[in-house]
Symmetry: C2
Subunit: 400 residues, 2 copies
């Protein structure tokens, strides 16, 4: 039998999904499992988007242009220009999910063996995409104590070498929920200009900013146009994770031209998705107002419950729908497995993502977990009941 | 401004799409362009598949499992088992188009820097996927004179080194339309067993075999189960290129497990597509009978018209919906550009793909073009009228 490749062995498994067999087993034994492990919202997809699918009127389900249809890119440009991005349809490559936007950006902007700096904890799949692209991730530690704010620029500068080609930020952040301030982005701008680095801005959670705070993108900063690559997706904005529809946006023509060659190799993004995505841009503001109100309520519920538990600390995040909380435990991987395998409260338990999978620095996040508040407040409260009791029963309980 | 990556420069542009600006310009000047350059069929997608899209009844467009839904994989297994593949749903990874199946197979089966042998001319995007995966393509020349039959096994053996990890075949072949015989596949089996190579079988055109000839897959060959990886797509089978729905099938568990990690990084294939793909398996035989009758008529029309032209030779292919023809010209790239730019017959012209893009060996295919017979016979005849006259007017006319 031929051996599989080294890369097939090296590719990291998903930390969000790796406990799935334990959850499946728990369900088989009759337990109800509250899924806080994955960012799959329970929010309804906008009706306009679903109706666009139901009303398709083509006879041949055909390829679209590799860069996406002009209709969709034009509509998307309108959406971004309302946000003040000042772009044209030619600045957009439509991608198969935000995932492909990240892959194409890494492969287009960073040489193999070169380095990309990412504040950690970070979206775990960046590791997978970096592995696929032979790009070296240089993590820079952010801290739960200040809510995972941007690390000091001096810390970035210590990491910069001749091999540094780019910085990735995810804003609002997955997994921490941190929303970067204008000052933090201005500091990153100065850094990227000083060292001529790409700034890859993953904005999957742009729509989810709370407490009246404004979302600022690197696309808003003058003078950084040739350095900024925006990575986006409809997955979270419209609760359409299964659409696999994203985009890459940049004013840098060399990146667009090279990215198009990667897009041509895989021929086309989905056609039905682009029809639905075009309709999605017309989603009324009232949809987002209702969704943000609901997420704010959930965040408040979750953060309050967590901080009320003995030995637990959870910062109050400004955006996205995740929190990272510090728990009084020895090992988050073991705890998250134990709570599925060996614990139940009234026949129920909870699935969380150990934060270790979101750190690249070994040993970091060992007493932290990520939770997605993608359930209604009643379910969230029941999940927190489970966690509260579980923390008291867990054999590996350990106060910080 | 930061430089883009070396890979961004190295990635090949699509030979199928690179003449598109000339076609666009021709259309702007009022010419009608017959597109024989791309495998986008004009055949209607099965009604059952389109109805499945129109009848979606979910409220949340959610992620599916990374490997695809069990419902779809179960249905797919039924489809393949009717063909005699003897597989289970666990042997299938659902992919984003056949493209992703090829990428995952290359990255999972072949080490970076290692080699994969591919009979040429071959599907041009293999070059792009190999570039993305740092896999070295070793082409092995097949010849128009014998209809692009499998090159002698002795020729394969001359290419095999310690770095050889796999062979790719596309059957029926894109771009040649050649349908491999049982004897040819048995010979490849013996070779793969002797040298312990993976046999990657791209079967996108499985449904399109003509003149009553039987399709044989490496999946039909006993004793090769751990070596065979099937790469498939719904694009051509159901004229659903825009669905971006494919799959990778293998009995080799190590390949499935490693492939799943690549699939997890990009989270999920499309949800609506899997619903449509599930319905597609129930497409009645009458659909395929009608489609194959139509393609046979088109092939016969095209091949007859081509061979009637002075200095043109076109083998009669056993499958798919492509032909590669030898023309009395100096340079296919120049000719295909010239016919768009500088020629018209009654306001019409034709777009073809220069065969050079399908060869990896420099200088090969310089007087060959690929044509996809994806237009009705009336349009095909008009396209052939254009070609016939153009060949007489082309300044670079050159008899072989």
């Amino acid at each position: 039998m031929p051996d599989i490749s080294e890369k097939g062995l090296l590719m990291p498994a998903s930390p969000i999904r790796k406990l799935t067999p334990y959850a499946d087993q728990a369900k088989k034994t009759g337990k109800k499992v509250y899924h806080l492990n994955i960012g799959q919202p329970d929010i309804a997809t906008p009706e306009g988007m679903l109706n666009a699918i139901k009303n398709i009127d083509f006879n041949v389900w055909a390829y679209t242009p590799s860069e996406g249809t002009l209709t969709y890119r034009t509509k998307l440009a309108d959406y971004y220009n309302k946000l003040g991005y000042n772009i044209t349809p030619e600045d957009i490559l439509v991608t198969v999910g935000g995932s492909e936007a990240i892959t194409i950006a890494m492969q287009t902007c960073v040489n193999e063996g070169d380095e990309i700096i990412i504040p950690e904890p970070f979206y775990a799949n960046y590791n997978g995409f970096a592995c696929m692209s032979n790009v070296v991730v240089k993590p820079i530690l952010s801290h739960i104590e200040n809510g995972f704010a941007l690390p000091p620029i001096a810390d970035f500068e210590k990491l910069i070498t001749a091999k540094t080609k780019a910085i990735i930020i995810c804003n609002p952040n997955n997994p921490t929920g941190y929303l970067y301030s204008k000052e933090e982005l201005e500091a990153l701008k100065a850094l990227c200009l000083k060292y001529d680095l790409f700034l890859l801005s993953d904005e999957a959670y742009r729509e989810f900013c709370y407490d009246g705070r404004e979302f600022i993108s690197p696309a808003h900063l003058n003078g950084l146009e040739q350095h900024v690559v925006i990575l986006d997706t409809v997955s979270k904005r419209y609760s359409a994770c299964g659409a696999r529809l994203g985009c890459l946006i940049t004013k840098n023509k060399a990146v667009i031209q090279a990215g198009l060659k990667f897009a041509q190799a895989r021929l086309s993004p989905g056609m039905v998705e682009q029809i639905a995505g075009t309709a999605a841009v017309d989603t009324p503001d009232s949809y987002f107002e209702a969704v943000n109100k609901e997420y704010t309520l959930r965040r408040d519920t979750l953060v309050k419950r967590l901080n009320a538990m003995d030995g637990v600390f959870c910062p109050n995040p400004g955006g996205a729908f995740y929190v990272v909380a510090k728990l009084p435990i020895d090992d988050a991987d073991q705890f998250c497995q134990w709570i599925l395998e060996s614990f139940n409260h009234q026949g129920e338990t909870v699935m969380m993502a150990p934060a270790t999978g979101f750190y690249s620095t070994a040993g970091s996040g060992k007493n932290e977990v990520r939770m997605a508040y993608v359930l209604n407040t009643e379910d969230l409260n029941r999940a927190m009941d489970c966690l509260d009791i579980a923390l008291k029963q867990y054999p590996g309980r350990k106060m910080a």
